[in-house]
């Protein structure tokens, strides 16, 4: 299990109803974590249309989770 800090932006923030949260997860990779969260919050976007960053660096979805990671999910936005 890993305790991770999550940050949500744009639609994800709206759908999660919060900009950040801390979760204890058994998910091994970022992809598994996102699917877990998607089921919980009902996120409409799939992982393929998002970018993920860990500890302020963009990462691949198969990166393994470590205790204390700060994970940010970022959808593209188009408003102007």
């Amino acid at each position: 299990m890993a305790l991770v800090n999550l940050q949500y932006y744009a639609q994800l923030r709206e759908q999660a109803g919060t900009g950040s949260e801390q979760v204890l997860t058994g998910a091994a990779s970022l992809r598994d974590l996102y699917e877990e969260l998607r089921a919980r919050h009902g996120f409409s976007l799939d992982a393929a249309s998002l970018k993920v960053a860990v500890n302020t660096q963009f990462c691949a979805w198969d990166r393994l989770l470590r205790d204390g990671d700060t994970v940010v999910f970022i959808p593209p936005v188009a408003g102007g």
Partner: protein, 526 residues
């Protein structure tokens, strides 16, 4: 269109007069302005006109249109000279043809008065003594201001403005910065910057870059001002509703800093011209709220080698990214390789936004632009900045330049493929004002909507066949027959997709109605 022109060589009144012939016109009136040998008591032996050409043309067109609408004349035209003129040369020609003489006289008078008053044209007089002086062509007495209200003899209160001295920009506050100075100011004056989108992000961008003295500003926007724009698009006010943003923005630039040259693009860029357009600028700022435009700009920047400052907003937050192909910085596709569907990305219309959010992000874009133009210190790493204006944080997320496009042939390869796809799409998408127009052009209509949609909104009075988009491949053989087919759906998306599938099957004579039925009803409304 084209009712106003700037001429650099002698005006030919005979040709202009012929251009105004109209079978319904019973009268024609022309006014010619000539260079005379004295002004306010001084002997003049010639003069020189200098115009802010783009703005003069836009404003001249508007004046001629106003005259046509105001007096109901059949046609009107005006030409103004620039360059060196001698005594007796024609400086300006105005003509109007109308059913009756009175309208023609009045339209002519209106145009010349407004031209004198409103056009950004400066006159430099050469005196016999050898001296010269710039004279502002404004503060005219305008007859038509006194036509209405019924008191023609009591309305002679002149505007009383002293003739405006030619404007001299003062950049002292920014030149005082040791990193700017005269050299920096000269760099700005030599810079050509393209701003795509004159909305919430574009408003601060355009205002700051004009104020800073960027030599040439290109402005791209195809929209008109809507009342719902005013909470965030600070270039405009309530009087501007319904007017084209690009023209208003060009006037705003001229008002802030008349020394800035404006190049206005009233149509959005497309895959066919984005690269050559970008190549004419030193820097591009993408300020639209349109995901397709953002990807197009990224591809254009990659292929032309022009740096691009991207920003976008969502509710209370925004994203900022600098794409600099020559510095090896990743493009938009490096982050999100596929353009997301419009439903996935949200918009100011659907998701809402507070006005200052694009204001802040636009100001940040302007700051990045000035840093790039002045070569000020800035982060060299590839990052996406996430700006959260609820908790006032800015997060810089570092990008791995070996991931993204680099893993799929590189940004250039990806951009080229994307532009080719967009070009193909452009060739397949056709725009019409009405379905009847498409039928008249020889197209057979194929409605690819579902039966229930057709029942709810049948095609109005034109023959069509019905093939739901999901079954289109089955009908490839039938559509292969001679003739040209226009596929139609509600938004243009399903019909475009169906056309792509048919083309993949080798059916070449099929096209998609651009924007679908929604675009048609929009045209009708506007």
């Amino acid at each position: 269109m084209k009712r106003f022109a700037i001429a650099t060589t002698a005006i030919d009144p005979a040709a202009l007069r012929e251009g105004l012939r109209d079978p319904g016109a019973g009268g024609f009136c022309a006014f010619e302005g000539w260079v005379r040998n004295s002004n306010e008591g001084r002997e003049v032996d010639g003069l020189e006109y200098e115009a802010y050409v783009e703005l003069a043309i836009a404003e001249g067109e508007r004046i001629a249109e106003e005259a046509i609408a105001r007096y109901g004349v059949s046609a009107a035209h005006c030409v103004h000279r620039t360059g060196d003129l001698k005594i007796g040369d024609m400086a300006v020609w105005v003509g109007a043809s109308a059913p009756h003489r009175d309208e023609a006289f009045r339209a002519c008078r209106y145009i010349i008065d407004e031209i004198k008053h409103r056009l950004p044209i400066w006159k430099k007089e050469h005196y016999v003594t050898g001296e010269t002086s710039w004279v502002a062509c404004s503060h005219t007495y305008r007859e038509h201001e006194h036509e209405e209200g019924g008191h023609p003899h009591h309305g002679h209160a002149h505007h009383g403005h002293a003739p405006a001295a030619p404007f001299m920009p003062d950049y002292s506050r920014q030149m005082r910065l040791s990193e700017v100075g005269e050299a920096g100011q000269a760099r700005l004056a030599a810079a050509r910057v393209l701003v795509i989108g004159a909305g919430g992000l574009g408003s601060p961008v355009i205002a700051y870059l004009a104020g800073a003295g960027v030599g040439t500003l290109g402005l791209v926007d195809g929209d008109r001002v809507d009342a719902s724009n005013l909470h965030r698009q600070t270039l405009y006010d309530a009087r501007d509703i319904g007017k084209p943003k690009v023209e208003l923005a060009a006037r705003r630039v001229a008002a802030i800093n008349p020394s800035v040259q404006v190049r206005a693009f009233a149509e959005p860029l497309h895959a066919g011209n984005v690269v050559e357009t970008f190549a004419q600028f030193d820097l591009v700022l993408e300020c639209t709220d349109d995901m397709r435009s953002r990807y197009l700009s990224s591809d254009g920047a990659v292929l032309s080698g022009t740096p691009l400052v991207l920003a976008s907003v969502y509710q209370y937050e925004g994203q900022l990214q600098v794409v600099d192909p020559k510095a090896g910085l990743p493009c938009l596709r490096c982050l999100w390789p596929q353009e997301p569907s419009p439903e996935a990305v949200g918009s100011c219309v659907l998701s809402g936004v507070l006005g200052p959010v694009p204001g802040v992000l636009g100001a940040m874009q302007a700051m990045e632009a000035l840093k790039i133009l002045l070569d000020l210190p800035r982060p060299k790493n590839a990052t996406l900045a996430l700006v959260n204006l609820l908790d006032n944080t800015i997060q810089h997320l570092g990008m791995d330049t070996t991931a993204g496009c680099a893993a799929h042939g590189g940004c250039t390869h990806q951009a080229r493929a994307a532009l080719r796809r967009a070009q193909d799409q452009r060739e397949m998408d056709l725009s019409f004002h009405s379905l009847a127009e498409a039928v008249a052009a020889g197209f057979q209509l194929v409605d690819v909507r579902e039966a229930n949609e057709i029942a709810a909104l049948p095609l109005p009075g034109v023959p069509s066949r019905h093939v739901p988009s999901g079954e289109i491949a089955v009908h490839a053989q039938v559509l292969r027959n001679e003739g040209r087919y226009l596929l139609i759906c509600a938004s243009g998306r399903r019909s475009a997709h169906a056309v792509q599938r048919l083309r993949a099957e080798g059916v070449e004579n099929v096209y998609s109605l651009a924007g679908g039925l929604a675009a048609l009803s929009l045209r009708k409304a506007s």
